[in-house]
Structures are given as structure tokens and as C-alpha cells.
């Protein structure tokens, strides 16, 4: 089977702009959390968030974040104009243009009878409009698609890109995700009592919920021989991916993480690897009671007594929802590149109910093959299996 490799990466998050700033934040275990500044909300000052240092302007926030990461990825891959013409684009996003739409709804309700929506809002609201704006801005003229499976969206997008390349739909596909902080998600997760007032502390016995974030990350994917023909540098290998549904509850995971375990098993099967081949797992690790317990049990079920080092980087990036899968895939690639495993900022006292002992601190390690988990509402579980560039 032809190997699909990653030849470009780009990322923007509360941890910083670009791969080097991100690598430093991960290695230092630096929290990206702080007070919400981007918009007025009664929740300002009460719920810390991971907000990106990027000025707000007339461009929809999800597009602006996506564009920052996408341009980095294309530059990193040295994918110039001719190659972009055939390149596909797959984007994962939860909110699309909602950050702007909710303001328009407020204006519409305030204006009363007879008012109409600003047609610019209509043009930007749907998730596909984000993909369209990104494709146009970067001259990506190949096939494009958008996936919205809540917090696993961009992991699904990366998996779709792999299938597009293997299936001959496009020689190069750029895949990733972008999501902006907005009132819908801030209030929505707060209404589910899923947001920690003190910032997330994944896998900790006293964890009290997640911390929302925003950001974007994109990967350039192509066949290895295509990359070699055009002289591209291989940054990492996409070895496998899996997606399985819990079919259990609208928001809560299966208590034993059945879908999560099945997704990891599917990714390993596609990669032709055994659990013992895995050097590190970047957990979904949101910091909610249910997620962390279910994910820990899924890991224990899959790996038995030999669970590899596991950590959650959610306090570094916040939970970036539809972008989380791509952002954490980049975190894994950087960790393998630089020879370290990120810790779990915020973790002090591991919860025995989670059945695993995650890494608290960053440590040096020669990881070659890793898993990255992304789980979403509706029991949507995705897992990516990534290999270090030189791990053949």
C-alpha cells in the first residue's frame, strides 16, 4: 500500500503562532488559558479560555484563524502555485461562521418585525463557506469538503484526506480544522456544567470540566513518491486512522470507552501495528469527569498492563473543538521531531477512576509511533496513528 506522508504543518493557537512557538509551549507545559477578551459576555472573568492573539477584523474569525494556519502549512510544504491547482482541501469545523451569526441574530431580534439578515452573514454562516474562503484565499482548486462531527471534526478531515489521496481523488490534500470561540459554545458547554471555572485539569481527581479554546491547524498530505518527486521534506507519516460511534448517548461517552477503544483498534489495524508498537498517546483528555474516565478505561482495555505514556495537552491549547484533532496531531508531530513527550499541565493528583497514570511533566523520549485521540458529541470517536518522519 502506498504510504501517505505529511509534508507541511501549520498551527495557530493560544500556545502561539507557528510550529516553533507551539513546540516551546508544549515542551514548557505552558498553559494557554486566560480571561476572555474577544467579546463581551457575562462569562468574562468567570471561565478561563484559550484565546488566540490575533486581531479581530472583518474576516470571520474561523476563516482568519484557518488562514493563518493554512498559509503556514502551504509554505512549510513549499506547495507553490502550480501544485496548489490540483490540491484538495478538507476542513473540520464545528461552528463555521457562528461567531458572526450570533451577533446578527441579536441585531435582528433587536430590530424587530420586518428586519432581514445581513446577506453577508448568510454567505458566511455555513461551515462550507469557511472551506470556500480558505480554498479561494490560497488558490486551492482541487476537490474540497467539510466535516462537522463536533470535537472529532478535524481528525475526520485528516482521515478523509488520506482516503482521497489513496483513492486517487487528488495528489495532494491539505486537511485540518479551525474553530473560533463564540457565545454558542461558551454558553452551551457551560449549560452542560462541563466548563471548569479554574481551568481544565485533565485526569486529575479534582477535575471540574474543560476549558474552551480556539485555533486552527492544517497538514499537507501526499503520497511519499509524490513528495519525493517534488523534493518535499517529509515531516511525519500518517500510518492509520479509525472512527467508531459509541451509539450510546447524545453527549456522554460510553462509560467504558467502547467506541474510543474500537477507534484506536481500527487505527492500529489500518497501520498494521500492535498495541505494543505505540510509544505515546495524546489523549482527548478534556478534563470532564466522564470523558477522562471513559478514555482511561478504553486505554486500559486496549493496552492492558502496558499502557504507553499518555498525556493531555488541553490546558496548553484549550479545547479547540473542531480544530482539536488537527492541533493535537501537530503536537504529536512536533514531539516526535524534537524527542520529547508533552506532559499534562494541570494534573496534580491522578484520578484512580481513570485507570491510567498520565504523564504530568514533559520528558525526553524517542517516540516513533503515536496515537492521537479526538472524541465528540454523539459518541463520535476518531483516532489518528502517526509515525516519525524517519520511522520506516
Amino acid at each position: 500500500m502506498q504510504e501517505v506522508v505529511i509534508t507541511g504543518i501549520g498551527i495557530v493557537s493560544a500556545a502561539g503562532h507557528g510550529i516553533e512557538a507551539t513546540a516551546r509551549a508544549l515542551r514548557d507545559g505552558r498553559s494557554g488559558l486566560g480571561p476572555l477578551r474577544g467579546f463581551e459576555s457575562p462569562r468574562n472573568g468567570h471561565l478561563p479560555v484559550a484565546e488566540v492573539d490575533l486581531p479581530r477584523d472583518s474576516v470571520p474569525r474561523t476563516v482568519a484563524l484557518g488562514l493563518a494556519a493554512l498559509r503556514q502549512a502551504l509554505d512549510d510544504a513549499a506547495l507553490h502555485s502550480d501544485a496548489r491547482r490540483d490540491a484538495g482541501l478538507v476542513v473540520g469545523t464545528c461552528v463555521g461562521g457562528m461567531a458572526e451569526s450570533e451577533n446578527a441574530v441579536a441585531a435582528l431580534l433587536a430590530a424587530g418585525e420586518g428586519a432581514t439578515l445581513d446577506d453577508a452573514v448568510w454567505g458566511r454562516h455555513e461551515c462550507a463557506a469557511t472551506t470556500d474562503a480558505l480554498a479561494r484565499a490560497c488558490d486551492l482548486e482541487g476537490p474540497r469538503s467539510t466535516f462537522s462531527t463536533a470535537c472529532s471534526s478535524s481528525a475526520q478531515a485528516i482521515a478523509a484526506a488520506d482516503r482521497w489521496i489513496r483513492g486517487g481523488l487528488a495528489p495532494v490534500v491539505v486537511a485540518g480544522g479551525t474553530d473560533a470561540l463564540c457565545r454558542l459554545t461558551l454558553n452551551g458547554f457551560a449549560s452542560l456544567l462541563n466548563v471548569s471555572p479554574h481551568g481544565c485539569t485533565p485526569f486529575d481527581a479534582r477535575r471540574a470540566g474543560m476549558s474552551l479554546g480556539e485555533g486552527a491547524a492544517f497538514l499537507v498530505l501526499e503520497h511519499r513518491d509524490h513528495a519525493e518527486r517534488r523534493g518535499a521534506t517529509v515531516r511525519a507519516r500518517l500510518l492509520g486512522h479509525g472512527n467508531r460511534c459509541d451509539a450510546h448517548h447524545p453527549t456522554a461517552p460510553h462509560p467504558d470507552g467502547e467506541g474510543a477503544r474500537a477507534a484506536m483498534s481500527a487505527a492500529l489495524a489500518m497501520a498494521g501495528l500492535a498495541p505494543s508498537d505505540i510509544d505515546y498517546v495524546n489523549a482527548h483528555g478534556t478534563g470532564t469527569t466522564d470523558n477522562d474516565r471513559a478514555e482511561g478505561r478504553a486505554l486500559q482495555h486496549l493496552f492492558g498492563d502496558a499502557v504507553p505514556p499518555v498525556s493531555s495537552t488541553k490546558r496548553v491549547f484549550g479545547h479547540t473543538l473542531g480544530a482539536a484533532g488537527a492541533i493535537e496531531a501537530v503536537a504529536c508531530i512536533l514531539a516526535m521531531r524534537d524527542g520529547f513527550l508533552p506532559g499534562t499541565p494541570g494534573l496534580v493528583d491522578p484520578d484512580p477512576e481513570c485507570a491510567i497514570l498520565p504523564l504530568r511533566e514533559t520528558r525526553s523520549d524517542d517516540a516513533r509511533v503515536v496515537l492521537s485521540n479526538s472524541f465528540g458529541f454523539g459518541g463520535n470517536n476518531s483516532c489518528l496513528c502517526l509515525g516519525r518522519a524517519d520511522s520506516r
Binding site: 454562516h125 462537522s148 447524545p250
Partner: protein, 287 residues
């Protein structure tokens, strides 16, 4: 965007339709649209998709590895609107958790999966009017003759009507969609999926059903059968594909498409408001 055409081989075992166009389908294939605001849990579209899935599936036909692949342009607007309007009116004081949980785009596919016990892949493609084509494409990649539920659904909302008026259209938006059960043996097959902007959406020969987009456009080359008379919505591509399946399977008279005789193949094409085009070829099995 350049065009690309992919040969595929997906058997369609059954189909079910709701909303715009469903009056053309035989009664066992037609599910009424639930009125907004009548569900106490889940989403309106999730409940509808589940009802459509049950119409497609015979007893014992699904296994735990069944996948659910759904397209939607705008997702669960009833619940999104309820959550956002309440959030605005209550100044973010008392957000509604149930509406939030049901507002995510994936709520449709995940409700089907939950209700029918489908633990295979669960995907939601949100590529505007051509979302259904991307759900079908995902089915092609999974392949292997797997049982898969594939379709697309969208609903009307005062915001869609507002938006259409802002664009200068006085058309009332339609709503609905269709679900297909894929697997073998099957009376009708999807044999080609084409994606692109212009060239890929032309029909080499034969009959085509062209689906109008929300802004009132119609990508209808000469010789096509316009899918006329139906209020457009973002998942009408799925509806048209299900109706074409019914015609090819002999369940819907060819005259419903203005044809004199049942054809052996049909193309269904769609142009999205953002410029995406998609076309699928449907054939009678063994034809």
C-alpha cells in the same frame, strides 16, 4: 476547482424520502416531516433521519459495524435557533443544554446510530448543497459491501427565509431529504461520483435530473430533466437521488420525471451556491 470523476460501485438496497419531493415516492418510502418544536429530546432532523432509516431497514439487516454517513448544509436549525435566540433574549443567563446538545451538525447521524445501534463509522459532511455527494464518497471509501446508511437532510427556518429575502429571492425554502441503505444485493447501484465546478457536471449522454440550488439557479445542461416544481433546500440532491433510485427500481413511474419509459441509468447533478458541483450516475443492477 477542477473536475474529478471516480468510478464507484455502491448498491442501493432501499431508500426513504421526507419533505419536498416525497409526494412522488410510493407511500412506504415516504416519511412525513415532523412539525418543529414537537420533540422533547434529540433534534427534529435527528428524529426524522431515524424514522427514514427505519423505513429503509428490514429486521436483522443491520449489524453493530453499520456506518451512518449524513450530509447536511445547515444542520439542526430548529435547535440552533432555539438555543441562540434564547441565549440572546436571556442575556446568556440561562442557556438551554438540551438545545445545545441537539444543535451540533453531527446530532443527525449520531441519533440514527444511537437508535439503531450502529457502531461503525459515523460521519457528517457539511459541503452545502453537495453534502450528499460527500457522504456517498465516504461510503465508497469504507466500501467492502458494508451496510451503510447514507443520506442528507436539511430543514427550513425563518433565518433561511430571511437570508433568501436578503439575497433578493422571494422563494420560500423547502425542507426534507432522503436516506439510502447501501449494501448488496441491490436493485440499483451508484456507479460514478463526479465532483467539480463545470466540466465534471456535464452529462455524456442519457437522462439527468438537475437539482436547483437555494438561490434559484439550475445547473441544467441541454437534455436534462429539471427537478422543477419543488421548493429548493440544501439536501434536495439526496431527495432527487432517492427518487431516481425509485424510478430505476420500477417503484416510481418514469412519467414522474417526464420520461416515456423506465431508463436503465440516470445521472443526478447538483450545483451548490458556493460553486461546488456534483453528479452521480445511478444504474439498474446488471443493466
Amino acid at each position: 476547482m477542477r473536475g474529478c470523476t471516480l468510478p464507484v460501485d455502491l448498491g442501493i438496497r432501499a431508500y426513504a424520502i421526507a419533505g419536498s419531493g416525497s409526494d412522488r415516492a410510493p407511500a412506504p418510502r415516504c416519511e412525513p416531516m415532523p412539525p418543529p418544536g414537537t420533540r422533547r429530546s434529540g433534534s427534529r432532523l435527528g428524529g426524522l433521519a431515524t424514522a427514514l432509516a427505519r423505513r429503509c431497514v428490514a429486521a436483522g439487516e443491520l449489524g453493530p459495524e453499520t456506518g451512518v454517513l449524513v450530509g447536511t448544509g445547515l444542520g439542526c436549525l430548529t435547535e440552533t435557533q432555539a438555543f441562540v435566540e434564547h441565549m440572546v433574549r436571556a442575556a446568556e443567563a440561562t442557556p438551554k443544554p438540551r438545545a445545545f446538545a441537539a444543535s451540533v451538525h453531527n446530532a443527525i447521524a449520531s441519533e440514527v446510530a444511537r437508535e439503531l445501534g450502529c457502531r461503525g463509522e459515523c460521519q457528517t459532511a457539511v459541503q452545502g448543497e453537495v453534502s450528499f455527494a460527500h457522504a456517498l464518497l465516504a461510503a465508497h471509501w469504507i466500501g467492502g459491501g458494508a451496510r451503510l446508511l447514507v443520506g442528507a437532510l436539511d430543514e427550513a427556518s425563518p433565518y433561511v427565509a430571511h437570508a433568501l429575502r436578503s439575497c433578493g429571492s422571494h422563494e420560500e425554502p423547502g425542507e426534507g431529504g432522503a436516506l439510502l441503505l447501501l449494501g448488496d444485493p441491490a436493485p440499483v447501484r451508484v456507479t460514478e461520483i463526479a465532483l467539480g465546478r463545470a466540466a465534471a457536471a456535464t452529462v455524456p449522454n442519457g437522462f439527468e435530473i438537475a437539482v436547483p440550488d437555494l438561490a434559484g439557479g439550475l445547473a441544467a445542461p441541454a437534455g436534462a430533466i429539471p427537478f422543477a416544481g419543488l421548493p429548493p433546500h440544501m439536501s434536495l440532491f439526496a431527495t432527487a437521488s432517492a427518487l431516481a433510485t425509485g424510478v430505476l427500481a420500477g417503484e416510481i413511474p418514469a412519467s414522474a420525471l417526464g420520461l416515456d419509459a423506465t431508463p436503465s441509468a440516470l445521472w443526478v447533478s447538483c450545483r451548490g451556491r458556493l460553486g461546488d458541483r456534483a453528479r452521480i450516475r445511478l444504474e439498474v443492477s446488471g443493466g
